[in-house]
């Protein structure tokens, strides 16, 4: 559509302008406004997002997001695999918090086949989910501040994130794509090194959040760039399907962890931070406070973690037996063989499970066939909804504010394109 051409050193729009009729304003056809491509290689689009902007001077008249550059057909591929093998693909969607995707998919499977998760496994899940929330918010904080010119925050945020990834490595063997949460529980039990690292982390992290806040919260340049920018009214946010911190920044008290608790979240005492004005600054404050709340949740989960107990369900029709049983029990060998060749079967029914990921509601619609593979998997991802709402957020703003707005809704294009 949009091919640029060099002609005497001037890049010209060579695409079919007619195909944009109805999408951009009439003024674009007379040359009164300018059409400008932002991305897909622009550093502040947080991945490969292309925005076709219609500009009147520096003001955005129309914003047309173009996504799909990271589409990898994950939903289609999962349809061809037994349920458990799909888990590893879900890691690759929202690559900044793979655990949340694992959790959404595994919860859907557990609901479909009616599989219980032991208490200890639920606590472990809460710990890793909250750790990945902190890790994801740290990447958001670093890149968002970097977009707006505050470079040092990026280095500090990534320093702390690396500690979390080291913990994930010690329990799942991978820094990022751990596939740690599995149907019926988690893959392995927590390791002693993990507890040591976690204790150290919980000790120093709250002070580090104070450091970030010292750099930004009252920084006059930061306030200038964020306050009153990208204001979303609560009604607009709800109508456009925004969820998570981006919705709570507008003051809507909706957190799935509180409203529809999963994995035992009802047992924890934590606050849901809310914004007042719905601008970029409030969304920033909400995420900063969420990191502090996540620390509180992890501390409570650690305190209540049963000393002994299963980290994965003992239902051998769905969960393969541990290696140690294979030498002793013929039944275990049969279960092992059946589960790793054929997998388990799910009924020909449909379920929808939504959980609170760092970015918002990630929903998994799962439809079984009665066999070992799903008929349809659909992920409703927060980034997809937030990108679709970008035009509403950005139109009428300056192009420099668009960078702040994109950062403030915290999109991950892998999550959006799947």
């Amino acid at each position: 559509m949009a091919i640029a051409e060099h002609e005497q050193g001037v890049r010209r729009w060579e695409g079919d302008l007619e195909s944009l009729r109805g999408l951009v304003s009439e003024r674009a056809f007379t040359g009164e406004t300018m059409l400008l491509n932002m991305g897909p290689h622009h550093p502040s689009t947080h991945g490969v997002l292309r925005l076709l902007l219609e500009l009147d001077g520096e003001e955005i008249v129309t914003c047309l997001p173009d996504v799909g550059f990271l589409h990898t057909g994950i939903e289609k591929t999962i349809e061809s695999k037994p349920y458990e093998k799909g888990v590893v693909l879900t890691d690759r969607m929202d690559y900044l918090s793979p655990m949340s995707n694992n959790m959404a998919f595994c919860s859907a499977i557990e609901k479909l086949v009616d599989l219980d998760v032991p208490e200890r496994a639920q606590r472990i899940r809460v710990i890793v989910l909250e750790l990945s929330r902190i890790a994801s918010h740290l990447v958001w904080l670093g890149t968002h501040a970097l977009d707006m010119g505050a470079m040092s925050v990026f280095l500090y945020a990534f320093r702390e994130r690396e500690r979390i990834l080291a913990m994930f490595e010690s329990i799942s063997g991978q820094r990022m794509m751990g596939s740690y949460i599995r149907p019926g529980g988690v893959w392995r039990d927590l390791t002693p090194e993990f507890f040591d690292m976690l204790d150290a982390f919980l000790g120093f992290f709250p002070a580090r959040v104070d450091d970030y806040e010292k750099l930004l919260t009252k920084n006059p340049i930061w306030l200038d760039r964020t306050q009153g920018v990208g204001v979303v009214e609560p009604e607009v946010a709800l109508a456009w399907g925004m969820t998570g911190p981006s919705l709570r920044g507008s003051g809507v008290n909706w957190d799935i962890r509180k409203a529809e608790p999963y994995s035992g979240y009802e047992q924890y005492d934590f606050e849901v931070p809310l914004g007042e004005h719905g601008d970029v600054y409030d969304r920033y404050l909400v995420r900063i406070r969420e990191m502090r709340e996540s620390v509180r949740i992890i501390q409570q989960a650690l305190k209540g973690l049963p000393k002994k107990g299963e980290f994965r369900s003992n239902n051998r029709k769905f969960v393969p037996p541990p290696r140690s049983e294979l030498g002793r029990s013929m039944e275990a060998v049969i279960h092992h063989f059946k589960l790793w060749t054929e997998g388990f079967s799910g009924p020909d029914e449909e379920v929808y499970v939504a959980i609170e990921s760092p970015r918002g509601e990630i929903g998994c619609y799962l439809h079984g066939t009665g066999g070992n593979k799903p008929r349809r998997v659909h992920f409703k991802t927060p980034s997809f909804m937030h990108v679709s709402a970008l035009p509403i957020l950005s139109e009428g703003h300056l192009i420099a504010d668009l960078v702040a707005i994109i950062g403030s809704v915290d999109i991950v294009l892998g999550d959006c394109d799947r």
């Binding site: 709800l238 109508a239 399907g241």
Partner: protein
């Protein structure tokens, strides 16, 4: 302000729009109401605006392809579109489902009720080839504009690298770009 008591969505919809509801079912605590495509927008608007229901938030729209299974009484058509609504006031969800015919896969767009439906419907058009009547901007969203076919249909081949077994070898060879004799 007093919050009106929560109503049973199925009974309320049956009373208000008796011709719209085909059947309703429960599975693991999730309610599914299958409605007639003609009354889809009216039914969703009723669920959204009626006190005691207030399904104010559109969580998700997803689609499913029942190919190659023959139509049954419960599943009269090949495709289905599911609308997942959420009531933040009563903290509950509901699924409204319509069945869509294979030869003319088209349903009414609900972008007039929730702007959030815009991209979700575009995604279904892109992936499943179901068209939405009255959609303001029905273009492909994830795939390229000149993409051939709709990949999430069950009869769309996964790729050429599928492992061959005796039961699927014919299906795989059918799609392989082999040299002609």
């Amino acid at each position: 302000m007093r919050i009106p008591e929560a109503k049973d969505p199925v009974a309320a919809l049956r009373t208000a729009l008796p011709e719209a509801v085909l059947y309703a079912k429960d599975f693991r605590g999730e309610t599914t109401i299958v409605v007639h495509p003609q009354h889809l927008v009216a039914a969703l608007q009723f669920l959204r605006d009626t006190p005691g229901l207030v399904y104010n938030f559109l969580s998700d729209i997803s689609s499913v392809d029942y190919y190659p299974e023959p139509p049954t009484e419960q599943r009269p058509e090949r495709f289905a579109v599911s609308y997942h609504l959420l009531s933040m006031l009563y903290k509950r969800r509901i699924r409204v489902k319509v069945f869509v015919a294979e030869d003319e896969p088209e349903v009414d767009s609900i972008t007039s009720l929730w702007p959030a439906a815009n991209w979700l419907e575009r995604e279904i058009y892109d992936m499943m080839g179901i068209r939405f009547r009255g959609h303001p901007d029905l273009r492909r969203v994830l795939l390229a504009e000149d993409w051939d076919g709709h990949p999430l249909r069950r009869d769309y081949p996964l790729g050429y690298e599928q492992v061959q077994f005796s039961f699927n070898v014919e299906e795989i060879i059918k799609h392989k770009p082999l040299a002609e004799e």
